[in-house]
Symmetry: C2
Subunit: 194 residues, 2 copies
DNA sequence: AGGCTAAGTAATCAAGTGATAACCTGTCAA
DNA sequence: TTGACAGGTTATCACTTGATTACTTAGCCT
């Protein structure tokens, strides 16, 4: 008459699992809008355990943010690592890579929330560091600062539009519709189905 | 031996005062990160009074957001209302207007927080409406959607950089420094002193 | 076998929060 | 003068939330 055997995990595996769950949870509500209990429920674990793993909610968020920011930088690095035909445009490839990340949604949302929460000094510092790393990665193309800036600006617009759930609410006739179609282009259908 | 005479105000004036105070408060912490008590303290008024004026914290935030979003749209409309010499670039003027708003800081921060808090359905809806109105205003120039989109994208980058307090932390040598100088250009000094 | 370490939970807490209710008090009209 | 409305506060509440403590139990080593 035993209850279901309770699965155990190595601390490292569990930490990873909670980190992923926290990414999903924070993506929805941001730092202030997400409780450690919400993260715990998402991870299928008790609330005190998630704070014990990470110390404080802030440190948990910083870990999640660092992960997300690394993910994006790495995606760009991967694109830049493959040498492409001389007639191909690097920036188009980078844009496509970003578009692929958009479908994941969580990483970009977390990134966005981290930026907005820059009022929290530690978060602001890490946000600047993360953005700096991404910028430097883009600059390894040897481009002018303006080029990298414009690329990032496009990305920020997409982030913002995602944050306000523009793709799911893309209705012809709405004031914002033209902007949504123009900003997302061909990837709109993939995001609208979300 | 009377205490200081307690100043009275018309409800409308007081509402306006609280609205401004709330703008400052929400600009710092966003919707979830700012308590009604913080708003009350900023306004020099009791906490129950601010919720009585606006009903709920959410409605207060929506009012603040609407104000901010209107402010920006109006600033653009003002630029477009004045007809300028044929050799002048409208977009440059619009950019300057946006730069002027940046020094206020609060409006843009609130806007940013509203975008990020799009997970809250009512906030998301109002964010899309606000952005839509701004987009439509820009489109009255008769430009292509891409032109307006690019302009907004630059604005979003500036918003994000402001949110992470990049101007105040612009230190030569930091990874992000090149991006900060490039994005803000000549208005950097005015913002760094903040 | 037996005990020790590490994974994980239940119980609990103090502080903060949004909201409600009840009360107070200028000011103005009749 | 009086009364009543409008501006505003104090007191209070139910609930959430991040964090701490103490306890339980699985699995490995000898």
């Amino acid at each position: 008459m035993n209850a279901a055997p309770i699965p155990r995990m190595s601390a490292e595996d569990r930490r990873e699992l909670v980190l992923h769950a926290a990414t999903r949870a924070f993506a929805r509500g941001g730092f202030h809008g997400t409780s450690t209990d919400a993260v715990a429920k998402e991870a299928g674990v008790s609330q005190p355990y998630v704070v014990r793993i990470f110390g404080t909610k802030l440190e948990l968020f910083l870990a999640v943010f660092a992960r997300a920011s690394d993910q994006i930088r790495t995606a760009f690095e991967d694109v830049l690592a493959q040498d492409l035909a001389p007639d191909e445009d690097v920036w188009e490839h980078l844009g496509l890579a970003y578009g692929a990340l958009l479908t994941d949604r969580d990483f970009l949302q977390v990134l966005m929330h981290g930026f907005s929460a820059g009022g929290e000094p530690e978060i602001g510092a890490q946000a600047r560091a993360g953005m700096g790393a991404i910028y430097q990665t883009l600059m390894t193309t040897g481009c002018e600062p303006d080029r990298a800036k414009d690329f990032i600006a496009q990305g920020m617009l997409l982030n913002v539009m995602m944050s306000m759930h523009a793709p799911e609410h893309a209705v012809e006739g709405d004031d914002i519709f033209g902007l949504t179609t123009c900003a997302f282009g061909e990837m709109l259908p993939a995001l609208a189905a979300d």
